[in-house]
Symmetry: C2
Subunit: 383 residues, 2 copies
Amino acid sequence: MKSYAKNVQSIKNDNRATILNLIRKAPVSRAEISAVAGLSKSSVTMITNALISEGQVREIGTEESTVGRKRILLDIVADYRFAAGIILHRRDIKVCLTDLKGEVITRASTAIENFRSADEVIDYTVNTVFELIDRLSLKKEDCIGIGISCPGPLDITRGVVLSPPHLDMLHNVAFCDKIREKTGMNVSLENNAVLLAMRENLIRDKMQNFMSVIISHGIGSAVVTAGEIYRGALGFSGELGHISVVADGLRCPCGNCGCLERYVSLSALKEHFGFTDYKQKVDMAYEGDEEALSVLRYITTYLGSGLVSAVNLFDLDAVILHGDYSYRPELLNGMLKKYINKNSVVAAVHGVEVISSPERNDRAEGNSTAAIIEQYFDQILEG
Amino acid sequence: MKSYAKNVQSIKNDNRATILNLIRKAPVSRAEISAVAGLSKSSVTMITNALISEGQVREIGTEESTVGRKRILLDIVADYRFAAGIILHRRDIKVCLTDLKGEVITRASTAIENFRSADEVIDYTVNTVFELIDRLSLKKEDCIGIGISCPGPLDITRGVVLSPPHLDMLHNVAFCDKIREKTGMNVSLENNAVLLAMRENLIRDKMQNFMSVIISHGIGSAVVTAGEIYRGALGFSGELGHISVVADGLRCPCGNCGCLERYVSLSALKEHFGFTDYKQKVDMAYEGDEEALSVLRYITTYLGSGLVSAVNLFDLDAVILHGDYSYRPELLNGMLKKYINKNSVVAAVHGVEVISSPERNDRAEGNSTAAIIEQYFDQILEG
DNA sequence: CTCCATTAGTTCAAACCTTAAACTAATTGC
DNA sequence: GCAATTAGTTTAAGGTTTGAACTAATGGAG
């Protein structure tokens, strides 16, 4: 059962949040807010003017119009507050600060080899966050929280990293708790695929049901449904990498057999075919090389099979692919799209889009604060 | 983004719905409602008394207490309104009326062989609904709507039956629209697994994230997450039967290869092992018969593999099995539970329950109106 | 250049709902 | 019979949305 707004005050907060989130998606005028949110013009005026006088929102000019008064566009004040991000990457640990739009303001990083224990990681990240804040002469109180981005299975309710081998010093350490303790800040741990999907959800307005998949040495995934991140029993993200594509197939470190990750991750590909340069193979495939094409067909069969399962279970409109397979993606994309639309039951009702989007490291840093920012805008507070 | 309550009136409706849904789950007192819903005692009094004077709710006695005034239990008036249900079963088409608790008041049915065309089905069901209403001297205006239960993939937005072969005369017919036209009533088409999950969601209070699976000649499934039915892009239910358990495996009529349904439905079992009496095999397995045990191991591997994928993707707490495998289920259940907990990634965070629950035809009829009833209680109207 | 039609945004009293506080009602144990 | 306790009711107060009437801004026609 949904939890409804209860009293008159909570309505105000809800409407503030609705409006602020609309503005956050893209600059809009009061009139548009009134139309989209279903609130009266009077209410929109009251609330937006309050937001403006608090310094959270500002007017950024007018829209063109053919007749009548021009609409005054409202935008959030991106530097009204800021957020800190920690990125537990495969090769290094990064720290950054972003504004409320997720744009990186400043950054730092150190190679993963420099860390021997969880405490070292904790000390480095906490100190660096404070250093960056100082360097920009920001106020600690204006930091809305620290978002941690990590690949692989996590236990986000406990704030614990479970899986990726290069972070074994963090396994089963109360990482979030310790950072919260040392900083006194709001701390959130999230899967990097979930963070990516959050950001995409903000941008892709029309797309309401999709899965974001990141494939590199492992496979990460997250699902957006009805315009919201899908959360399971304990906030565990959709683990596409550990979907079983071959019952009784190759054994996976996770304990299961036949996991997708054992077939189509970059490492699995190397193990299966013996080559290391995926990009080179793709180039050859474009030139018609039969062996290279067979590699793409192999990927299509296994990845397609896993995606069909996901599409059928979640009833998805689209799949967005990130990571290494995004190199010259037209060929593989076309094969996957054909495979999925031919083989999924939902295709009988609606088509399924397959989109490739190059994962820039830049974006990955900005994404790290996506969950903290979302949290911030969802529980709107006075002043 | 969530759609929030907007104005002061909508708050009232929301609170009415919250309270009515609480009462509907199980009889409660005003004091409990106040505590659980987070509403003040005054509001609860106001709203419940309004509901009572409208005839939607009644007091049904008091609870025992050790000290202080006894709590007065409130229950919904089950026959305040009624709903009609149409069940498109494998062997017959059933029509029934249920009260607001989903209890069947009256029923009728005809063998599927009697129908040659969609129009015949439409005429029969519509006429029978009116006949049953007349027979019980009920008022047509008190019927909250007609729920249609159907196995297999549906397009619930268009209200069209897509799949099961025995209903081929209904394929791509605007079934819901025509029935809505002829009756002027609210009509809803739902997958039978979804309806079952709705009912279970109402009953199983603690369980918030589970999948209901019905296995007989096909496989149907539905997911409840965060205490609500999961809905994908177009309300398509989670199609566990068409999850791919063997990439490039057995061809399925749906177009895909290696669908779970091709391995562990009753028909697939018959095809694979050549036997027809599943119950007999189970009996033999309990006596230690090695061949019979190998059948259960086969089911465990394939069904388990599919369930692991679903559990990993949806992050589920539990799987509830219905249908033919519910015969003496302890043995198979134990094997499945062990398999799933050993092989799923989420098991690292929380255990996964496997529950067998015999599917009674009786219940299937009552379930047919579950969606209409849910809809009714979610959009509460005055008087 | 003025006037008008049109759209955007503002002001304010009215309507409505929840709620805290103070109340009554019912029940047990001493 | 009385105190203690819990359940349920009444009522005035407080806060929010809103419709209606308003002002503001803009383009085009005459």
